[in-house]
Symmetry: D2
């Protein structure tokens, strides 16, 4: 099972990537992420960096690629459907692609997991849609 959400953002791929690539800075999504608490002391571009979002989502940066403009993280524990009792092997991927004819970019926020007790996509899709909406608003 998996989530697939994507939007066009009115900024270049480099500009959008520059905002997204720091795993510990979610200040571009103020209406969705009220609190982004770093854990463990690693900077937001070091693999293994950890954050707690809104006091509940525990996430770890597992991949970052400036060349492919791609970021990958795990959800290790969280509320409801993404608690560690209900989902295992949860990996989310954020990718920025250039739209060459307008200079804008496409941002894809996808995720998949190895096992779950159900309800994960229904829980996560609205969150990703809200985050992508915040990203559009940030560059409008």
């Amino acid at each position: 099972m998996s989530c697939h959400n994507s939007v066009v953002v009115q900024a270049s791929a480099d500009e959008v990537w520059n905002v997204l690539r720091d795993f510990l800075d979610m200040s571009w999504a103020p209406e969705v992420i009220e609190q982004c608490e770093p854990q463990g002391g690693l900077p937001g571009t070091q693999i293994g960096a950890k954050r707690i979002l809104n006091g509940t989502f525990q996430e770890t940066l597992v991949g970052l690629d400036d060349h492919a403009r791609t970021l990958r993280y795990s959800i290790d524990d969280g509320p409801d459907a993404v608690s560690k009792d209900n989902v295992q092997g949860y990996i989310a991927t954020v990718q920025v692609l250039p739209i060459t004819d307008t200079g804008e970019s496409l941002v894809l926020w996808t995720s998949s997991w190895e096992w779950s007790g159900g309800g994960v996509a229904q829980f996560c899709n609205p969150i990703y849609q809200a985050l992508l909406g915040q990203l559009q608003k940030h560059f409008r």
Copy 2:
């Protein structure tokens, strides 16, 4: 070296892919491709299908994937910068991605090659831009 061109098309990924996936049907690009001549008798969704575009570009379908909505072909010979004397190992890839918040799609037309005597990107980029423009027009 490589070419990277992409546009937003006002139709769903499935609709756009349905038009693109037949390698021997270029009727969606009438202002750029005046003639698409099948060679060798294979249908346009069989790997190994061959076409000659506008009497000069000799191309072979090397990959087609309905799941990833991706098509891949080689240019085996052609005019000017894409003649077999000037470029070797030329592979082009066309991919369709859904833009979930609007129901539109992003189409990427990229290419790369193993060796060239120069001038390939300058020659090919305007052609891919024209083809992508035709695709947008087809769905407008």
Copy 3:
């Protein structure tokens, strides 16, 4: 959820791919696939080709790529854990990679699915291991 199986085969990537790429020819796995029945009349390198394996597995070729030496198919219905009532959106991918220092190749047989009632990996992993064992034997 997903399956991941891979083996080294004592033949070049081109030789192995040449055996694997025809979706309707499973004669290289005689001890596992007793019957490979084509359905619908398309040849085994045309996207959309269908086969029934051992009278029960109903599969469709959804992707084939001579450049990436990759083949992708869906299981549409089958026995036990892969019946259409127990699994949805089942896609398997076979890829051949060259091992350059020995001239051998690595073959990866992976699969994933969108939803299942359980037991799919336990059912499928031994089948893929048996198929990959047959492939090794074919080239020994």
Copy 4:
């Protein structure tokens, strides 16, 4: 143009990845890399980390992915064919894949570049082969 080199290593994908993932530790290749000098103060798992190999190869970590066991770096300047006057946009990728039936792993060291004055593959292939030989020796 591009380089493609790969070898089987007698250790699990996790063990091999654990050795490779620190961009600033090349101690597993003592016969090829006599000196690995960190530049700029970032640790070897932070994107943007820089190293100078053997006093001449200037390289930057551009991607690292623990999930895909993939590392990507640029060569920014170097001797002979990889000097910045002879090659532009040089990106190398190292990937570790599990070989499930033996518990060993395949390591792929590939690279590509946007432009060069020639001779890059001839210069780089023996270096990658030597590095991969060192990796095999490290785990033997």
